[in-house]
């Protein structure tokens, strides 16, 4: 590391410390801005010679990153556990993190840049579906950019159940396929390779025209066990939902690929992950037991509605359309909210009216309560409450309930 990068890193860490004291949060993004301003090219310098894993996808990337970090059990590694996953967040994670291995959650749109800068040993791809279309535009365009970026990457660990990640993954030098599941299939109706129809059946998916089809997985789930050719590893997660078992499978496959960790020990460490950047965190707040959850696109909502289905406790839905949320909330109509029928539902947020109308069209009775989470739970009986927000709404809600 050059003295210039070393000085920049020192200044970035100081800036992060000041930001943490003044504004709360991790200070990672500010650290990244400082690092890159003082030492352009520092990201490349700080990853040279290190074992780098990048994790990307529309959903699950924060969880897979956290699970990978936990499974590696290396206290010297650098990562971005707070989900700051664009250029500044990645730079900040390298400035403030340890000097060991690197595990970086990467925004889907920033993957080509991150691959070019960090020259990863491996890239983990979870899934690709519609999200923030006002920013990312189209799923296939992202798949095309991934495919170009991954050419030459030594290894990709990819979800075999999603054609939109399998096709770009095939550009890498080697692939490890994980049957991590794909509940959302609406963006996989056409083949990403040739544009013809892509069909799903009981044994997988395949293009009706070209030879793209579901690859035979190296890792798959049987109940709560992760299975390989001659391996069966029980997964005991504290994180809820079938989708988190898929996330854990991808994380362990990535850890296995590092070659330096006993996989059963790594799997046991996954149970120590109780929340991911505040998601699934349980908080006692104003006489209520809140479970905090994030749902920021149709695929995420589909998984979360499944997760919440057995429960009948009240739900607070907080909905914005600011910045990273995407400006267009039309996607609310891509998923059915009917599973919420019969539950007590409170709605708030800057685009609460959009959500109220959406729920009305699915015959879900809801009450609009403007203000804060405290205002929302005030109208609910004491007890358990699920709080679900999209990105900025979730962050604001989390800050409030953590303050108490």
């Amino acid at each position: 590391m050059s003295s210039r990068v070393g000085m920049a890193r020192y200044a970035a860490r100081a800036a992060a410390g000041v930001a943490r004291r003044l504004r709360g949060g991790s200070g990672t993004v500010i650290a990244g801005h400082v690092l890159e301003a003082l030492a352009p090219g520092a990201v490349e310098a700080l990853t040279t010679g290190r074992d780098v894993t990048l994790v990307t996808g529309t959903n699950g990337k924060t969880s897979i990153t956290a699970l990978t970090v936990a499974a590696l059990g290396d206290e010297h590694l650098a990562s971005n556990p707070d989900g700051a996953n664009t250029r500044a967040g990645i730079a900040g994670a390298l400035a403030t993190g340890g000097d060991g291995a690197v595990v970086l959650e990467t925004d889907e749109g920033w993957l080509p840049w991150a691959v070019a800068q960090t020259r990863p040993a491996r890239v983990v791809l979870s899934n690709l579906s519609r999200d923030q279309l006002s920013r990312h535009h189209e799923v296939r365009a992202l798949a095309v950019s991934w495919r170009a970026a991954l050419a030459g990457v030594p290894l990709v660990i990819a979800n075999a159940d999603d054609p939109a990640v399998v096709w770009p993954a095939l550009a890498a030098r080697r692939q490890v396929w994980v049957a991590a599941g794909a509940r959302w299939t609406a963006d996989a109706a056409t083949c990403p390779a040739c544009g013809r129809a892509c069909r799903r059946g009981p044994t997988g998916w395949g293009c009706t025209s070209c030879d793209l089809r579901r690859p035979r997985p190296h890792w798959w789930l049987e109940g709560n066990d992760l299975c390989g050719e001659d391996t069966r590893i029980p997964l005991r997660l504290d994180l809820p939902g079938r989708f988190n078992l898929g996330n854990a499978a991808l994380a362990l496959a990535a850890v296995d690929a590092t070659g330096g960790v006993q996989l059963h020990d790594a799997a046991r460490r996954l149970a120590d992950v109780h929340a991911v950047a505040g998601r699934y965190q349980r908080v006692r707040f104003r006489g209520h037991d809140l479970r905090m959850m994030l749902a920021k696109n149709p695929a995420g909502w589909l998984e979360l509605l499944d997760l919440m289905a057995p429960d009948r406790c009240p739900v607070v839905l907080v909905f914005n359309a600011d910045g990273v949320d995407g400006r267009d909330p039309s996607w609310l109509y891509d998923v059915s909210f009917a599973p919420l029928r019969g539950r007590t539902v409170v709605v708030q947020g800057r685009r609460a009216t959009d959500l109220m109308v959406r729920l009305e069209l699915d015959d879900v009775e809801a009450r609009l309560v403007r203000g804060s989470i405290a205002d929302a739970v005030w109208v609910l009986p004491a007890g358990r409450v699920d709080v679900v927000g999209n990105y900025t709404a979730f962050q604001t809600a989390l800050k409030e309930v953590r303050r108490g």
């Binding site: 519609r130 109706a189 056409t190 544009g195 400006r327 039309s330 109509y333 009216t353 109308v357 069209l361």
Partner: protein, 244 residues
């Protein structure tokens, strides 16, 4: 007023990327609120578009999905005649599919169904954002609000009329016009979904398909309209600034 309506959602698996399924929900919700039962038929890739429904809806989609939809629909010789003979809403990629032709992301022209006297090209830049238009020759429909996210343009020829004149946003990319009206077809680049945000437009389609409808007001939807127009309509913002 009819007792029952059959609404056909054409290729929702391909033309449903931007929440346009909400247009079908808005139609059924507003019809059923008036006591008109609705049957929704979703047409899959291997299925023939029904010939005798009351209302047809096409949504938006990504480039590759749009091309597959074009191949599928063009393979059915009667689809253009069926859609042209019935009340039809087409949104974004749906609009382009009903035009004489449209361009993909590489600039290659593809044949459309030729139902609308419209040629679709490419905008210089993608149009993304809130849109407000004033409807043309539709006195029962107030200002339209929606969200556009497209690279396609639309140039109208002789027998095609615009759906609206652009107050805010881009629209067709020619002559400050947005959307198309021709015969029984209304086509637009507006998502939102457009019929959720514009109940009068939904009612116009329903009344064309089912006959005159009784009044129905949905306060929640009216509030949504007000919020979006307050944000996007520069005339309203000026009025707020001037205090009247």
């Amino acid at each position: 007023m009819a007792d029952e309506l059959t609404i056909v959602h054409v290729l929702p698996d391909l033309l449903g990327t931007y929440g346009d399924r909400g247009n079908v929900l808005a139609l059924t919700h507003r019809a059923e609120a008036r006591g008109v039962a609705c049957r929704v038929v979703e047409v899959g890739l291997d299925e023939r578009v029904p010939r005798t429904a009351d209302l047809y809806v096409l949504g938006g989609g990504e480039d590759s999905a749009q091309l597959l939809a074009a191949r599928t629909l063009l393979a059915d010789d009667l689809v253009a005649a069926v859609l042209g003979a019935h009340t039809t809403l087409a949104v974004c990629a749906g609009l382009q599919l009903l035009a004489h032709g449209f361009e993909d992301s590489t600039g290659t022209r593809h044949q459309g169904l030729g139902l609308l006297d419209v040629e679709c090209g490419r905008l210089e830049e993608r149009a993304v954002g809130e849109v407000v238009t004033e409807p043309v020759d539709l006195p029962e429909v107030p200002s339209l609000t929606g969200y556009e996210n497209h690279r396609g343009s639309a140039r109208l020829h002789g027998s095609a009329r615009p759906l609206g004149r652009v107050v805010a946003g881009v629209g067709n990319g020619h002559d400050d016009l947005e959307g198309v009206q021709q015969g029984h077809v209304i086509a637009t680049y507006l998502h939102g979904p457009v019929l959720v945000r514009n109940p009068a437009l939904a009612d116009l389609l329903l009344s064309r398909a089912a006959g005159p409808l009784p009044e129905y007001e949905d306060p929640e939807v009216e509030e949504l309209r007000k919020e979006r127009l307050d944000v996007a309509d520069p005339r309203r913002r000026r009025r707020h600034l001037l205090g009247y």
